[in-house]
Symmetry: C2
């Protein structure tokens, strides 16, 4: 076959995904110091030494960068919750750990990185895909945990599992949603223990 029309490989810079990752790292650093809301793409470009046009080649908007940063944060939180749940055997204890990990990891993000928390707040209030995916991930973990507990005989099976899961998710939601979590922070000391106690009583066979 004649492949004269294909162009010869050009001298290439870093691959696209590397540049994207580089922008995300620099933006995380920048936002965590100066805040997300007040920073424009121009500010960001200047700070990381790229042209604005170059950044727009890789991300269509500031929100698209924020979305990547947010996904990374939320994936860390999910990993923390999963590690807490996987660290014990019995479903009731898994549920207690899950509650505690949700509150602890949310508050850690809030107190350690107030400026990045701004991104999580935008993501939650504007329902960015990363925030929706995070909620869905926690819902799935909960459902899986309920299945295990029903199988092991630790949890009752009379109530339809979807109903049980939806209600428990509603109890967890104020601590998952970062906007609500920051408003409830004076409640969070005792909350995980008290709420998981209540939920476990509701699940007893």
């Amino acid at each position: 076959m004649n492949n004269a029309t294909s162009s010869p490989p050009a001298a290439r810079g870093p691959a696209d995904h590397e540049v994207r990752a580089q922008i995300v790292v620099a933006a995380t650093e920048h936002f965590s110091q100066y805040g997300y809301e007040k920073t424009t793409v121009s500010d960001l470009a200047k700070a990381i030494g790229f042209s604005k046009a170059y950044i727009y080649k890789f991300f269509e908007s500031k929100q698209a960068i924020g979305e990547m940063i947010c996904s990374n944060c939320l994936r860390e939180i999910e990993a923390d919750i999963r590690a807490a749940v996987d660290g014990v055997d019995r479903p009731p204890e898994k549920l207690r750990r899950m509650f505690k990990a949700i509150v602890d990891s949310g508050l850690r993000l809030f107190f350690q990185d107030r400026k990045l928390y701004e991104i999580a707040i935008s993501a939650a209030s504007e329902r960015w895909p990363s925030a929706i995916a995070h909620e869905e991930c926690i819902r799935q973990m909960l459902l899986e945990l309920l299945r295990q507990g029903r199988e092991s005989g630790d949890f009752e099976r009379k109530t339809p599992i979807d109903e049980t899961a939806a209600a428990i998710y509603l109890v967890m939601h104020p601590y998952i949603n970062p906007v609500i979590l920051q408003l409830s922070s004076h409640y969070t000391g005792q909350a995980p223990a008290q709420l998981s106690g209540l939920v476990l009583r509701s699940l007893s066979p």
Copy 2:
């Protein structure tokens, strides 16, 4: 006895409490149209035809007026909740009604009177005495209801009642606090039924 030192009754205007009530009525009207946050005491004075100094004779600040308005609103909500609870006999049904009345009356205030809702938001976030008293009132209603349910045999008695009450209050709190309620309004359709179902399962003897 010689009572020459007592002064003769002066020609008197309306009593203080009447003027206070008049100011509160006018301020409620004004705030509900123009909002609480943006209105100053000067604006209010002009609108209701009193001097600023005269208003300050009766209320030490705008917040003191807001506090009266807020108390009135919250007392209406409490009356609604109490009526809902008193309207049925069995404690489990009382609890269902209580949940529903908390959400319904909060949302009614939110949707019908957005501008007055601003006051409730300030009261809740700045922990005004009216907001604290409201939370305490609901806590007391809940405790009373739990006592009735334990007495009638509808609710379990193993868990210390304070622990049970604190945990259920935490479940109710996002729907009592107006700042959180407005953020959760997309959840509120099913929430009262799902959450009271969960709470009742946790209370079963």
